[in-house]
């Protein structure tokens, strides 16, 4: 294939579908009880140097509990898929757990402003960066999910985003039009937070999917954290609701409020006060270190973090916010 142009950014993961096939060939397809604690899941499935991906959209249906645990266990030199990443990246940057990043959106927390901690870490020179767009990372995951080494797309062309990416430009053999070809991205390990899963890993969620369906299928190892485990019969009763089938899932972890302080659709809204607390603490290195100690390193698990931040009473209030009924009973 005639390559017209090639970005100079790194491709951190191998896009070879035959290697992915060889990996998946060995994966068990049996329905077994895959439930475990988050501590156990992170210990078992996240290895230093792995390429990590986080589901959801920064602070929306994001496995925040998993990010905390990864930091708590002091993982190092991870690669990170920085697609639509906000609070997740902020936590992982605080722990300095990654040293390579595919950057589509990071550093910022959308309308909330920029994360000083994420920014400082990226600017430190300790992190190798490759540039992409949010949709490009979504399409790269889709390529891996389809078992092909690349997919063509029509954004990124003509820009520095292309030049500092690992994409390639080539003409279409049917129309002669120039396309950006993006290489398959298959994370070593991925965490996705959902509403419900059975013990085998069949999972379903409400609200927007972001890029989680592509991500789930693209990943070599997939850990599902969920608000609640449901009986398999419940899944089997309406199998068209299953978005992630059990056989691609390696572990199921029940973590109620696992997306806090982010939003979980139809469950709880984001805790903006606590997210602001993060951004304020980030400004002073010492205060930030003490803050991290308090909310992550000194917490035995995520329940301790929830308790520290107001416990079930706070969760009840965030549920009322989610359902737009703030006014009553407060």
């Amino acid at each position: 294939m005639d390559v017209l142009d090639r970005g100079k950014g790194a491709v951190f993961t191998d896009p070879d579908p035959d290697k992915l096939r060889a990996f998946f060939q060995k994966k068990s397809r049996i329905k077994t009880d895959k439930t475990m604690t988050l501590k156990q899941a992170v210990k078992t499935f996240v290895n230093d140097g792995d390429y990590l991906a986080i589901g959801g959209f920064g602070a929306n249906r994001t496995p925040v509990a998993a990010c905390h645990e990864i930091v708590r266990q002091g993982k190092k030199n991870l690669g990170f898929a920085g697609h639509t990443s906000t609070h997740d990246m902020q936590i992982l940057s605080a722990g300095k757990v990654y040293s390579k990043i595919d950057m589509a959106y990071g550093v910022g927390l959308e309308a909330r402003g920029l994360s000083g901690c994420s920014r400082k870490y990226i600017e430190s020179g300790d992190v190798e960066v490759s540039e992409w767009t949010n949709y490009a990372l979504s399409v790269r995951l889709q390529a891996a999910a389809m078992g092909v080494p690349y997919l063509p797309m029509r954004s990124m062309l003509g820009t520095d985003t292309f030049k500092f990416s690992g994409a390639v430009a080539a003409d279409c053999p049917f129309t002669g039009k120039k396309m950006a070809l993006v290489p398959a991205l298959s994370p070593d390990v991925t965490f996705i937070h959902v509403h419900e899963a059975d013990i085998y890993g069949n999972a379903r969620f409400e609200g927007i999917a972001v890029a989680d369906l592509e991500l789930a299928s693209a990943s070599k190892t997939l850990v599902i954290t969920c608000e609640r485990i449901v009986h398999h019969e419940e899944i089997a009763r309406e199998p068209h609701k299953t978005q992630i089938p059990y056989f691609i899932v390696d572990a199921v972890v029940e973590v109620p409020y696992g997306a806090y302080p982010g939003t979980m659709p139809n469950e709880y809204f984001s805790d903006e006060a606590h997210l602001k607390e993060w951004m304020t603490k980030e400004k002073d290195p010492e205060a930030f270190e003490a803050f991290l100690k308090e909310i992550i390193f000194d917490c035995e698990d995520f329940n301790a973090y929830i308790d520290r931040n107001g416990g079930l009473e706070k969760m009840r209030r965030l549920r009322r916010t989610e359902f737009l009924t703030n006014g009553e009973g407060e």
Binding site: P17, D18, L20, R21, A22, F23, F24, Q25, K27, S28, R29, I30, K31, A144, A145, M146, G147, V148, Y200, N202, S217, I235, A236, R237, P239, H240, T242, P245, Y246, F247, I248
Partner: protein, 255 residues
């Protein structure tokens, strides 16, 4: 010794190939019967997938279509063709059973036309999902009657890839590595493919048949193991389950 017909024999042999915990992409008819029989005998955790989207159903009866409601009855997921085929493409599916009007010595299948494509004697359904399954699933199997008109020197149309022209040709074609035809199960024998040449090779004889019977009913020269064992006959238990639990309506085994 229990009486059984040739379809029952083929289904039983096929079922024994499906080890517990494997995944299999199946169509309707005999392959589905084999998968169901395997689940009810040695392989309760065999995972069945249908090309239209059904994943791991608890089949309450034999489906009529690979897209009917039975194919996702109490399933783990009712997905899409994309869900299934991309799972196959990623290497998640171990086995598939395919068929065709013709098969050659490399396990290539024809289900498109008899005669010339431009002006066919008989137009057949085409690939359907067969070419996809055969390209992606690790081990492709065929259940078919042993018949000179089916086992041909050259298929009229190469719909679905076997080992193509043998040797390294499949690898060079760009198809996924290390996948390909695995076993051919007929009423007379079981065949595999000789590892170097990728030519069809008889590896066991079904009760009542000789190698010469098989060769006489085959349009090309077959390889063979020197010592040909006997394919174990269906057990009473296998037949009981097949007849009473898998296909009580005799939709497949009554053919």
């Amino acid at each position: 010794m229990t009486d059984y017909n040739q379809m029952e024999m083929m289904i039983v042999i096929a079922a024994r190939e499906l080890e517990n915990g494997a995944t299999v992409g199946v169509g309707t008819g005999a392959p589905c019967a084999a998968a169901m029989l395997a689940q009810k005998t040695a392989s309760p955790d065999l995972v069945i997938m249908f090309e239209a989207g059904g994943i791991s159903p608890e089949l309450p009866e034999m489906p009529i279509s690979v897209g009917d409601s039975r194919t996702f009855y109490k399933a783990s997921q009712a997905g899409s063709m994309g869900t299934i085929m991309s799972s196959c493409a990623r290497g998640f599916v171990d086995y598939t059973f395919l068929g065709g009007a013709q098969i050659d010595m490399y396990g290539n299948l024809n289900s498109t036309v008899i005669g010339d494509w431009e002006s066919p004697k008989v137009r057949l359904p085409g690939s359907g999902g067969a070419n996809d399954f055969a390209s992606f699933c690790w081990k492709m199997m065929v259940m078919t009657p042993q018949d000179k008109r089916r086992f041909v020197e050259k298929v009229d149309f190469l719909t679905t890839p076997g080992w193509l022209e043998g040797g390294e040709s499949r690898k060079e074609s760009g198809l996924p590595e290390n996948a390909g035809p695995y076993k051919i199960i007929t009423n007379m024998a079981v065949m595999d493919f000789e590892p170097e040449s990728k030519r069809m090779r008889v590896i066991s004889l079904n009760p009542g048949y000789t190698f010469e019977d098989v060769q006489e009913n085959c349009g090309f020269e077959l390889l063979r193991l020197e010592d040909l064992p006997l394919t174990p006959a269906p057990t009473e238990e296998e037949l009981y389950i097949l007849r009473n639990q898998v296909d009580p309506g005799r939709v497949v085994i009554g053919r």
